[in-house]
Assembly symmetry: C2
Homo-oligomer: 261 residues x 2
């Protein structure tokens, strides 16, 4: 939450007064031709109006009219390991920052180390994706733009996140396991083939495509610049203009019942 300090109102009053008094003095001079009168009225105006401006600013500080919130949204990058989600999401995040939009960046690789107990079986992946989706939705509900990147290979948990968010934009990085394996510099596919990683999407379990993701990025035929343009263009056309904005559903559901947390 923001508020405006008294110093801001004082400096704005000084700034305004400079411009405004020069105008008044000029008007009085033009109409009377008397430079002394113009200066006297100008000088008196400086004192009388400076105070008036200050109180006018303080009054408007309490008025909400015309203070608008930029629509928030959850931009959810999903796709096979090594499909390029993190790099692309980082680039989009930077582009949003350049456009003056603050956002929170959530990447699976940043969250998992905080919760080392999280495994890779489907139920564990579901739980992880759902918890992170809940986090993203709560941030969005509080006016924060979220750029998230998770393999999130299962449709069910992605749809859970979608149901929790207000504006959910799914960005699917479409490619093949073969192309990903070639791109994979971390040797993850290799380890999955050796059986060190189990339930690895693209090797042991399939990536479950959504029926209609908001944005499909054809990773193998598009440059990163083109993909960034595609995504930011979509956001400007469909979300940031306020078109798609719906009142976010409450991210939490009040259900009573005994529980120990």
């Amino acid at each position: 939450m923001h508020y405006e300090t008294k110093s801001r109102s004082i400096v704005k009053a000084l700034s305004w007064r400079t411009w405004a008094t020069l105008t008044t003095a000029a008007l009085v001079y033009i109409f009377t031709g008397k430079i002394a009168l113009a200066l006297t009225v100008g000088l008196l105006e400086v004192f009388a109006k400076m105070g008036l401006y200050f109180f006018h600013e303080r009054l408007w500080q309490r008025i909400r009219f015309g203070k608008k919130e930029i629509p928030s949204f959850v931009l959810w990058f999903t796709g096979l390991p090594a499909s390029g989600k993190k790099a692309l999401a980082d680039r989009v995040f930077q582009q949003l920052a350049k456009d003056g939009l603050r956002a929170e960046r959530i990447d699976s690789n940043d969250v998992r180390p905080l919760f080392p107990e999280t495994g890779f079986t489907p139920p564990e992946v579901h739980r992880h994706v759902k918890r992170c989706g809940h986090l993203a939705a709560m941030l969005e509900k509080n006016g924060v733009i979220v750029v998230a990147s998770f393999v999130s290979p299962y449709r069910e948990s992605r749809d859970f996140v979608r149901s929790m968010a207000g504006n959910f934009v799914e960005v699917y990085l479409k490619t093949t396991p073969e192309a990903c394996e070639k791109r994979d510099t971390k040797g993850r596919y290799e380890r999955a083939r050796q059986g060190i990683y189990t339930m690895f999407p693209g090797i042991e379990v399939p990536y479950e495509e959504s029926a209609r993701p908001e944005i499909t990025v054809e990773v193998d035929s598009l440059s990163q610049e083109e993909a960034v343009r595609q995504i930011v263009g979509y956001l400007k056309k469909n979300v940031l203009c306020g078109k798609q904005v719906k009142v976010p559903k409450p991210a939490t559901v009040a259900v009573s019942g005994g529980s120990v947390s």
Copy 2:
């Protein structure tokens, strides 16, 4: 994120002009005694300065000086089941709203139904509390005040949340399991005694007190009103004034490494 619309600037310009032109006309009249001149200067000023004011407002819309953020914090209510956390946290939340402070309210009873797989063994409780703490810290990092209430009986997970938050205020509801059992209208202690609930804090496992919680509420000797005053008073004195504000640590830690989310 907020911005000010052009309508706001226009209405502010009109509002200002009314007050300011009356002052100018009055000044000219006092000094010249000529009512016609006073009105002419006033009228011309209306047009010249209205535009000037509008552009002055648009210019200041880009200046960050004096726009301050209200310090955010995580207010974490902890204590035995039926110690009165939810009711007290709700009352504090309402009081903050009355004081014009928006906050997010997170209660374990609202989060658990979203993740029904979360159990009540110590590792599951740790995981649940840590995930919710991560959520609270991310909200706080993005300028959102968080009022959270969780039994969170284990010191380790509470300290994890503390380490993630910027401003962490632990509110410990101090009471005895016996007093809680008397207050317990949901029959949770009863079910714990019958063995239906296992690992129940206060019955099977102890509540691990923190060495020095920021606020200790003596539940059994204080009225709810007094407790609300105690907590809000603490916040006003130590947090909202900006005293305790530190730059929040990043809630996520960038660690690279292969992972499937």
